[in-house]
Symmetry: C2
Subunit: 436 residues, 2 copies
């Protein structure tokens, strides 16, 4: 039986999961693939920690460059993450003619073009299914299943930490701070959660998927990114009354001359399949011009789900190798366009505003006056005798409006002396009929 030899670099949580699958399911995989996928090396600085796996002798080493230097190795699995050493290792592996499997969304989102270009020149694959959505086969679906489609849009819940926190706020009425602490306690958030809660991780993923879907470069600096730190139980409660859920969404759309790529909390209708994605789960909705909407849903992180995606990439490449395929599948769709990312100021959508207003006559008229002056049309106003102390929440839902106008109007409103606190602005993504 033919053999494909792989070397894994970075044996943390996901790396350990990959080792488990490759070692414990070696026979299952070889029976399905018609070739043996052999894990020749596992390189990690920490060779001491017990990973709960019985490795053969001499598999575990400290030096990643030894893996890359071994001419027997066909595929390098890079699971170190980050942008420094990982990039060097990947480029070096490509230079040596090795195929690469990685889950490194930050690196690919920011410097993917250089890496894909190098791989293309060398005729090797760079596979990255595990870099977005964990075990959800979103990369394969875009590149293969939707090959006959122009992709029109994508909406995703791509960060399990944020979705876990938002679910806790919604279900248990926790503050953001308490929900984050609970996420950290239960292993759903890192000690430094910045990249997750500020939306950066989600932005990496949607940038990468947008490049893939539309064949256009996405400069991460052009992507609007807003995290979930400002979400309160009160806004979630209001959303609920209107039939909405609040989710951290990654949104991308192909427009006529530009693309939208943005990450922010948004209200979506309870009927939307993404509304019922709870806890640390992920989901992606992709709309192709032939298929209409497809939704994929599953675990977006964790040892075994992510490892499963890595193994699917390894096997895809192994199948190419044993079947004699050369350059079977480009790592990315060709970059066919240079559509710019639509500046957030030009976004047109529906909005939810929550004003913290003094309970005085005339306040509503002042707010409405300013909104009107900026051409923002109010769909409904909600002002309830709530038991909260201090300022009274006034909530408004708008018809579609332009972001730049919204920002100017709200800034003007927030400087009124009857307004006690910054107005909460949450975009609404459900009223498709009105937006299109």
């Amino acid at each position: 039986m033919k053999e494909v030899k792989v070397g894994l670099i970075g044996c943390g949580t996901v790396g350990t999961g990959v080792c488990r699958i490759l070692i414990e399911k070696q026979h299952l995989i070889s029976s399905r693939v018609g070739a043996s996928v052999i894990l020749k090396y596992v390189a990690d600085l920490d060779t001491e920690t017990d990973r709960g796996i019985s490795f053969d002798d001499n598999i575990f080493i400290k030096d990643a460059f030894q893996v890359i230097g071994d001419p027997e190795i066909d595929i390098i699995i890079e699971l170190i993450g980050g942008k420094t050493i990982a990039k060097e290792l990947i480029l070096k592996a490509i230079e040596k003619g090795k195929h690469v499997v990685t889950a490194n969304k930050a690196l690919l989102a920011e410097e993917g073009e250089e890496i894909f270009q190098a791989a293309s020149e060398k005729g090797v694959s760079v596979a990255f299914e595990a870099s977005a959505g964990g075990c959800i086969p979103i990369v394969k679906t875009i590149r293969e299943s939707l090959i006959g489609n122009r992709i029109k849009s994508m909406t995703g819940i791509l960060n399990g930490t944020c979705n876990y926190i938002l679910t806790k706020i919604a279900d248990e009425g926790l503050s953001f701070k308490d929900a984050l602490a609970m996420a950290q306690k239960n292993g759903f958030a890192e000690a430094d959660p910045t990249l997750d809660i500020e939306g950066g991780d989600t932005a990496h993923k949607i940038s990468l998927l947008s490049t893939l879907s539309y064949g256009t470069r996405v400069d991460l600096n052009d992507v609007y990114i807003e995290g979930i730190t400002g979400i309160t139980p009160l806004d979630i409660e209001f959303a609920d009354e209107f039939g909405y859920k609040i989710k951290l969404l990654a949104i991308s759309k192909a427009l006529e001359k530009s693309i939208e790529v943005r990450v922010h909390p948004a209200m979506i209708s309870c009927d939307n399949p993404l509304a019922s994605v709870h806890g640390s789960l992920n989901a992606v909705s992709v709309t192709g011009d032939a298929t209409g909407e497809i939704v994929l849903y599953g675990y977006g992180a964790g040892m075994m789900p992510t490892a499963s995606a890595v193994v699917s990439d390894i096997v895809d490449i192994a199948r190419d190798l044993v079947s004699g395929a050369v350059n079977r599948l480009p790592s990315s769709f060709p970059l066919v366009s240079t559509s710019p990312v639509l500046p957030i100021d030009e976004l047109i959508t529906n909005y939810y505003f929550r004003f913290s207003a003094a309970d005085k006559p005339g306040v509503l008229s002042k707010i409405a006056g300013i909104l009107g002056a900026y051409g923002i049309s109010v769909k409904s106003v909600h002002q309830k005798g709530r038991k909260s102390k201090g300022p009274v929440p006034i909530v408004m839902l708008t018809h579609i409006a332009r972001e730049a106008d919204v920002q100017k109007a709200i800034s003007e409103i927030d400087s009124l002396d009857v307004i006690d606190d910054n107005t909460v602005i949450i975009r609404i993504e459900s009223d498709q009929d009105e937006q299109e």
Copy 2:
């Protein structure tokens, strides 16, 4: 640029969609694939009907065997359906060394083994993504994305006609008959809807997917199949009260020494992602041992969604051809086991019973007595002063019980003179914790 030539046989709804994609998106596809996919023939007995596509001259022919006989053709797309001429054409195409793409679930579910065997001997592919779930990439997900998993179970809503009818009964309180008439009027059900509403179509799909997932033969005769003709608004209303939806489910599970493969209406919890699959949509939940549950959701039928799946198969094979891959992917997982299908009598699950009982004292005790004698433990009893005339509905939910016991007990209960009509039995699929 390299060329791959394809011939399509059977230009009905889906065939027309495939032609549209291959012709209108020829440049898009060739830019993504690095090769031209050329539609050389379209064979159909009806060459007169305007398909709304501008075909090149000489593409449209009547004789399917001319397509198969042309040595230039690399891939045959069989979209005739049925089991007679389609089988002959597919086997002939394989014999001539051509790859085959088909959406023919009935043929593959019933005679797939012969076809896959022939393809394997000849070293050609038989691709069938469009045969289950329309544009949902379920075949690719099982064969490629979940390659490092043992698949533990699958639950699907795989028939859009049935789901449309059940949605109409639920949302509008229609009778089954009226909902079917509406489905027919709106193009969601055929003039002869038997194969859909009696569950046969769903059984074809889940048999095929089970063979693929577990690597075991599934004899369609061993699959328990129950359609939706007995579902009433009253049962849907009761289900609603308990937090359940009624769906026609395809269920398959890998047990220790057998597999479950069954098709029947079932109650599922409103929290289940499948519960929110409305109208003609399809969805499949697959649980792998590494990934946990993945749910895929999208249009399960219709011209363009199904055509999109057919095109993805064509392109997969085209990529093999132009990259020089030989036998890259087996058409099916190897048949590794001969696990028998668990007889429905041995099923253990939770049940919903609705008895049509005379409103007399002692009825409940008679029913409960018989259930008790068969070891069926009742979880709750619901008897409301409903406004229905005649017999009073008594509803019971059970703890897990054995199907054979249930059938015997209900048969005995139905012969009591206080019971006016056959008892409605609906299996409940949500109480996983209790079942496992």
